[in-house]
Amino acid sequence: MKTINKISILALIIAFACAKQETVTPDDMVEAAKAEVNIISVEQANDIINGEEIYNLIDVRGPQEHYYGYIPGSVMIPRGSLEFSIGSKDFWEHEGLYEPEKDEIFVLYCKKGKRSILAAQTLQKLGYTKVYVIDGGWKKWELTYPEYTEKDLKKLGGGDSHEEVGGC
């Protein structure tokens, strides 16, 4: 009887050890988060931007990506500090904005729409109720509305470079 007990305990331990080793890939994480968040098209995002309701357009990419090109009117909150910045009065004051309420619209984007899905999941956990992710992210926006974009290269240091690339 005792041996049977021992064996079953051992089996349990092995089962637990195996279960613990089970890790997921980043794509699995995105896939899992996808089911929980609201994904909208660039056209829908454009409707929100041009709509009546208050919205917060958040670029979750880093400064080395953001300033090279972003959707006009967006606030950059890199995903690394998102949880802390989003509810920080200081952060919003620094941006020259008031701190948004948790039931306001948040439209998130990144380069192609993976990071923003994870970021949206985080915001929802923090209690934000109307969080949307732009499908395809900045790249999709840039391709759909190439003339409705902004950049701020001065923030990256260095001004305009003088370089010519001719030929076709």
């Binding site: 790249k139 840039e142 391709l143 305009d160 003088h162 010519e164 690339v165 001719g166 030929g167 076709c168």
Partner: protein
């Protein structure tokens, strides 16, 4: 008792074991998969060089000009000059019958417009660097002179031979050589010639549009040495094939051609040339062959290493710094997304293709055409579901905005390149009107002086960067509600399409059925209870 056991065993077999076994057989059958066919290609690399060119005295002479090298080549390889001079590589045009009764035209890079630098003709110094001749500076170029043929650009096996930029196909000379673009060592190059390598083809075909991977999206310098994931054919870890292993060549006539510049379904290279038309050994997957090109599933994304240009907005070009310098700005990935000389761009990598029907024929915006649609179709691939020769193919669509004549309603050929300022080229003087005047003049086209910008699009079918079979698209990329084939609307794709009406009607019927059952059940229970209470 024994009868009960008999009944029990009988039930077990007739009602449980045999039916379950039947289902297991079904599952077993459904899991039976044949292995796909594999191909063992015969590679050009296996070709054994028959002579050592360094032994030939004629190639040891002091060459004064590249033309003399050609003369030496033709001295032994007689007749080859005539072969090459029949090809589109030399003529930059070929006779083609345009679809829809638009007649026979000589079309090619020589005279077609595009939505990159708008067209080669008139910008010869820059564009004709990729012509296989020496010095197609202007219309006076002699297409009948064999010594104008550049043998080396295709047959150099040393990777040291280059044409100089801005010289219409001439290599650097002692007068214009720079550190980066030196005079080629003709003896070294000529003594080390052979079949074209990836470098030879790539030097032009990878850099079309003014930079790596700008034009094609599936042809770029990463293919010189890439992983299997990028291109299963060309990777050293894969089949390690070179361009001419598929683009088989006889008498300098290279098979395969691109629908950016050709119209007829002739002289093509197809996957099935090697793989046959049922390579999967799976009836359902092979059945797709009738309507779906191999490329559609096997090139799930393109521009897998470096980004490709997807949007080119000329209307923003010409912005200069306060002191008159031209500007170059990058996007976050380090690709130019603004150049004063060219305007705004959008680049992307790992791009999902768009999908179109294609039967191998294409129409083109010809120099004499007027604008009939917006966006203007630089080229148009033909085909539809009912066309038995058409298949769904993956396409890179390059969109942009470029100059057009608002009076004559025509796309404008721009004069972009010149050696010096003051010659009226846009890249030097940034004057739209002069650029249009000169560009149209060179192409013998009327220009009213009124211009604006119009949206255009060009379709570039994708054929390269075939992924390993494990990375081929899964069924649900197309067979699901958010199908990649959203644009293909003349077919029924199971999983993507459904009749909303039928589904709603069916669901209502099922719901009503269930409701009816529930009501019946409740009534039965209620009446049953009533009856038994009464007792």
């Amino acid at each position: 008792m024994s009868k009960k056991i008999r009944i029990f065993i009988g039930s077990l077999f007739a009602s449980v074991i045999f039916p379950t076994a039947a289902i297991f057989i079904v599952f077993w059958f459904s899991s039976q998969k044949n292995e796909p066919q594999t191909i063992d290609p015969v590679l050009r690399a296996d070709h054994i060089k028959s002579v050592d060119h360094s032994e030939f005295e004629v190639l040891q002479q002091e060459f004064e000009s590249p033309h003399e090298v050609t003369e030496a080549c033709v001295g032994c390889h007689n007749g080859r000059d005539n072969e090459i001079m029949q090809t589109a590589h030399w003529k930059w045009e070929r006779e083609a019958e345009l679809p829809n009764g638009r007649g026979v035209h000589n079309i090619g890079k020589k005279n077609l417009l595009n939505n990159f630098c708008t067209g080669a003709a008139g910008n010869n110094g820059s564009c004709m660097r990729c012509h296989i001749g020496y010095g197609w500076k202007d219309k006076s170029f002699d297409f009948g002179d064999p010594t104008n043929v550049d043998c080396l650009v295709c047959h150099d096996n040393t990777e040291t031979y280059f044409k100089r930029s801005g010289e219409a196909g001439m290599p650097a000379t002692t007068e214009n050589a720079t550190l980066a673009q030196p005079v080629p060592d003709y003896n070294y190059v000529a003594q080390n010639v052979g079949l074209p390598t990836r470098h030879n083809c790539g030097v032009c075909h990878f850099y079309g549009g003014g930079g790596n991977n700008v034009k094609h999206g599936d042809l770029e310098e990463a293919l010189l040495e890439c992983s299997k994931e990028v291109d299963v054919h060309m990777s050293p870890d894969g089949a390690d094939m070179v361009c001419t292993d598929c683009h088989k060549t006889e008498n300098h006539n290279i098979t395969g051609k691109h629908y950016g510049v050709s119209a007829m379904n002739k002289n093509r290279v197809n996957c099935e040339d090697c793989h046959g038309n049922a390579p999967h050994n799976d009836r359902i997957i092979d059945g797709h062959f009738e309507k779906v090109a191999c490329q559609t599933c096997h090139i799930p994304t393109y521009a897998k290493v470096n980004a490709t240009k997807l949007w080119w907005d000329w209307s923003s070009a010409g912005r200069l710094t306060d002191d008159g310098h031209s500007i170059a700005e990058n996007d976050a990935d380090g690709n130019h997304n603004y150049l004063s000389i060219k305007g705004n761009f959008v680049w992307d990598d790992n791009v999902e293709p768009e999908y179109q029907w294609h039967n191998g024929t294409a129409d083109h915006y010809l120099l004499e055409d007027t604008i009939s649609t917006i966006p203007v179709k630089i080229n148009e691939l033909f085909g539809s579901y009912t066309d038995t020769t058409a298949k769904i193919v993956p396409v890179k669509v390059h969109r942009g905005k470029q100059m057009y004549d608002t009076e004559y309603n025509t796309l404008i050929s721009m004069k972009l390149h010149a050696a010096e300022k003051g010659e009226g080229a846009f890249w030097k003087d940034f004057d739209w009107d002069t650029s249009a005047v000169l560009g149209m003049q060179y192409n013998n086209r009327p220009y009213s002086g009124q211009w604006d910008f119009v949206e255009t699009e060009a379709s570039w079918p994708l054929n390269h960067m075939v992924a390993p079979k494990e990375q081929a698209m899964s069924c649900t990329e197309c067979h699901s509600r958010d199908s990649r084939l959203a644009n293909i609307d003349d077919i029924y794709v199971p999983g993507r399409d459904h009749s909303r009406f039928l589904d709603n009607l069916g669901n209502i019927i099922l719901v009503l059925t269930i409701l009816g059952i529930l009501v019946h059940t409740i009534l039965r229970i209620a009446f049953y209870k009533k009856r038994h209470h009464a007792h």
